[in-house]
């Protein structure tokens, strides 16, 4: 049975050319926004899937879904090819997610009605920064 070893949302990922090891930067467990509506320019949904080579198919038809407060805002098909190997690394870069208000964001990777991977985070309104007038400064 295909299962995920890890799934997360991050600002970006890199894959080592020699080792194929995955490195993520700015893994998001929360997004603090100064105001709404908000457009998230780029966010990467990274998943490592593992399968049983003897049982599971080599190519799996999946779909990447993004939900904001249980409302689907994106559902894109994705064919995952294992190339005969037990694991595969997936990096889905998602551009321009429009967020109208503070909400709960869920990214999932589904296949044949089954959820293979899931990651959740909150998008919150951060405290409004205050401009403090100070005296002095360059003359």
């Amino acid at each position: 049975m295909i299962r995920s070893k890890i799934a997360f949302l991050a600002d970006g990922i890199t894959v080592d050319l020699h080792t194929r090891l995955l490195t993520a930067y700015n893994v998001r467990d929360l997004i603090n926004a100064a105001s709404f509506p908000l457009v998230i320019p780029t966010i990467v949904f990274a998943v490592i899937l593992e399968r049983d080579v003897a049982i599971d198919n080599d190519v799996v038809a999946c779909s990447v879904r993004i939900l904001l407060d249980d409302q689907s805002v994106m559902d894109a098909p994705l064919d995952v090819k294992f190339d005969g190997q037990p694991t595969v690394k997936i990096g889905a870069t998602i551009n321009g997610v429009f967020v109208g208000q503070p909400c709960h964001m869920v990214a999932t990777l589904d296949s044949d009605g089954r959820e293979l991977a899931r990651y959740e985070l909150d998008i919150r309104l951060s405290a409004v920064p205050q401009i403090v007038q100070t005296s002095g400064g360059p003359q």
């Binding site: 080792t19 993004i66 190339d83 990096g91 109208g100 208000q101």
Partner: protein, 169 residues
């Protein structure tokens, strides 16, 4: 095959992973995988690694053949060929074999664009009137007197409305 860059790397490599990575950066090793099959590379490994009176050059050639397997695309061919490889002969052979098998998982990369939702436009509300709308942006006529009442539709109730005072005409 020019062994000099590999020989130098082999001399100062202090971990198997270091050696694996550096060997992969040598073009001659990648070329080996293009010129020979996985079966041939394993045969070369067996020949050089299992020599009775093995020299350092033999060890370098053996490791080069083993690392070259990481460039062979066909994973099944590599696993089948490696089943016939004599392991436990050189110090790092098991680690390099592990790297060859594990550090090759495919990467699926895709760029998706989230569709931009259709947002309701701003609603102009005259003072004293009621607006029932999905929009959370209200334009209030500031030239008129009286209080405007904005009742958001159910889909917009949990949003905080943005009220903009405009000159109504």
């Amino acid at each position: 095959m020019d062994l000099s860059p590999l020989y130098e790397l082999y001399m100062y490599a202090n971990t198997p992973l270091f050696m694996y990575r550096r060997f992969r950066e040598v073009a001659a090793v990648e070329r080996l995988a293009k010129d020979q099959s996985a079966h041939d590379l394993v045969a070369a490994w067996n020949m050089y690694a299992c020599k009775q009176e093995r020299t350092v050059e033999d060890e370098v050639r053996a490791y080069a053949a083993l690392v070259a397997l990481s460039f062979v695309e066909d994973y099944q061919a590599v696993t089948t060929a490696l089943a016939a490889a004599h392991m436990g002969v050189l110090r790092w052979d098991m680690d390099i074999k592990d790297a060859v098998l594990r550090f090759r998982s495919p990467v699926v990369s895709v760029v998706l664009s989230a569709p931009r939702p259709q947002m309701p436009g701003p609603v102009f509300v005259r003072p004293g009137a009621y607006a029932d709308t999905a929009s959370n942006v209200y334009l209030i006529d500031k030239s008129a007197h009286g209080q405007a009442h904005c009742t958001a539709a159910s889909s917009a109730k949990d949003r905080s409305p943005t009220v903009i005072q405009v000159s109504g005409k």
